[in-house]
Symmetry: C2
Subunit: 231 residues, 2 copies
DNA sequence: CGGCTAGTTGACTTCATTCAACGCTGGTGG
DNA sequence: CCACCAGCGTTGAATGAAGTCAACTAGCCG
């Protein structure tokens, strides 16, 4: 199997595509284009017309928005298998955010008009896209909740938990992107994240470069609980 | 025209319904049900199966989420003409938030299965719902940006601006809901909002009960700008 | 080797929260 | 008709969490 054939397999397995009829899927798969990016590359720019539906194959893409003061605010991060720009592209709107690669990244994209046409003809595609959008709404609501109701340490702990497979006992992983990006995604400054990591040593969290070692996942969950009660 | 006929007119004029064929719209309109709520009433509860697509006819509905610590976090507020629960209902998922009336409120709702069936048969409805969802994504991204990149005063000023018709010069309006709810929606405590209002007297903002008087809208915009530069 | 980016650490500042007391207003019941 | 109470909002003083500024280290690339 060629690399691209594997990627097409991956596409097929994604929620967005798995419910499609073979014919509809084939039509989309025929029109795909693959791209590679390196850290800092801009994938789509805020304000541009959305021309493509994108899927992340490898790496991470950060969505940012230019604020009035010229600074960019990180809104969300997408990883492997996640779709982005699907709703704006199908609706023919403009991008309201900029998408940038946080490291080496591979993307597959398909032309907006092909997807839009297919969505008009195959309702299951329109519903699948709707389902994706709905999932994004939940994810954004989670973020808002975290920003409004949780302290820095809680957000950091939750982030670390999200990196570990669910379960108990010890765990090891790697940070998926730089600490600067992690800080921004949690609504923190880099210095604050650094201090938070230092504090969390007391609950068995060890960060060394990108390596993460957690003594006991259960303890982390309890700590999140404990911090809740304090507030 | 009976009151309900007027409401049906309003429905027809909403983005969600305006692109539908007369037949599709009639089908939906036949199945609607009207409801009234008073302050504090729960309209949908987090965790329940979504059975209805809802549209706010009058009043304001706040979406909240129960956090792990038992407190509720305000996620978003919907006003007249806004639809909610449309994507979860069509997809047959469970509500991830609770919806509560912030004051006297009128709602129109239609059964999820009717809308879902219609969406399957009329692609324009599926796309209209997608468009709504997409708009909600933008709105939530705005909120995240505000929470991450703006100070309390900036968020308050922006909120006040959003109440005024665009333009220059003086403006008067009313606060759409209680100050407690406004504070929560801006990610602030009530006391902080109160202090912010007090500070903003210096830029020509006067709040008296629910009455809002702004000396010059332009000045408010400039003040938001100025605060940006300081950060 | 130098220069760059990523990350850490310390001292200080500040914005917002917390806790607590108090004020206003509108409704209810004696 | 007045007294009392509850809900909403304001204000003050003290606290604390996160941001800012700045110096410094480690690793990496050319």
């Amino acid at each position: 199997m060629t690399p691209q054939a594997k990627d097409i397999e991956l596409l097929r397995s994604l929620p967005l595509f798995s419910t499609l009829s073979p014919a509809t899927f084939a039509r989309l798969a025929d029109s795909v284009r693959f791209d590679r990016y390196v850290k800092g590359d801009t994938i789509v720019r805020q304000g541009e017309k959305a021309q493509w539906v994108m899927v992340v194959l490898e790496g991470y893409v950060k969505l940012t928005r230019l604020s009035a003061n010229g600074e960019e605010t990180l809104i969300h991060i997408f990883g492997r298998g996640e779709t982005f720009a699907e709703s704006v592209a199908v609706l023919g709107d403009n991008h309201t955010t900029t998408a940038e690669a946080t490291g080496p990244t591979r993307i597959v994209r398909m032309p907006a008009h092909v997807v839009a046409q297919a969505a008009r003809e195959a309702p299951e595609l329109a519903l699948a896209i709707l389902s994706e959008s709905s999932a994004k709404i939940w994810a954004l609501m989670d973020e808002i909740e975290a920003l409004k109701a949780q302290t820095a340490d809680q957000r950091v702990l939750r982030f670390l938990l999200s990196l570990c497979p669910p379960g108990h006992g010890a765990a090891e992983t790697r940070l998926p992107y730089t600490k600067g990006v992690i800080a921004a995604s949690l609504g923190l400054k880099q210095e604050t994240l650094s201090r938070s990591f230092a504090r969390l040593k007391t609950v068995g969290v060890e960060i060394e470069g990108r390596a993460v070692r957690i003594a006991d996942v259960k303890v982390i969950e309890q700590e999140i609980e404990r911090l809740n009660r304090l507030v």
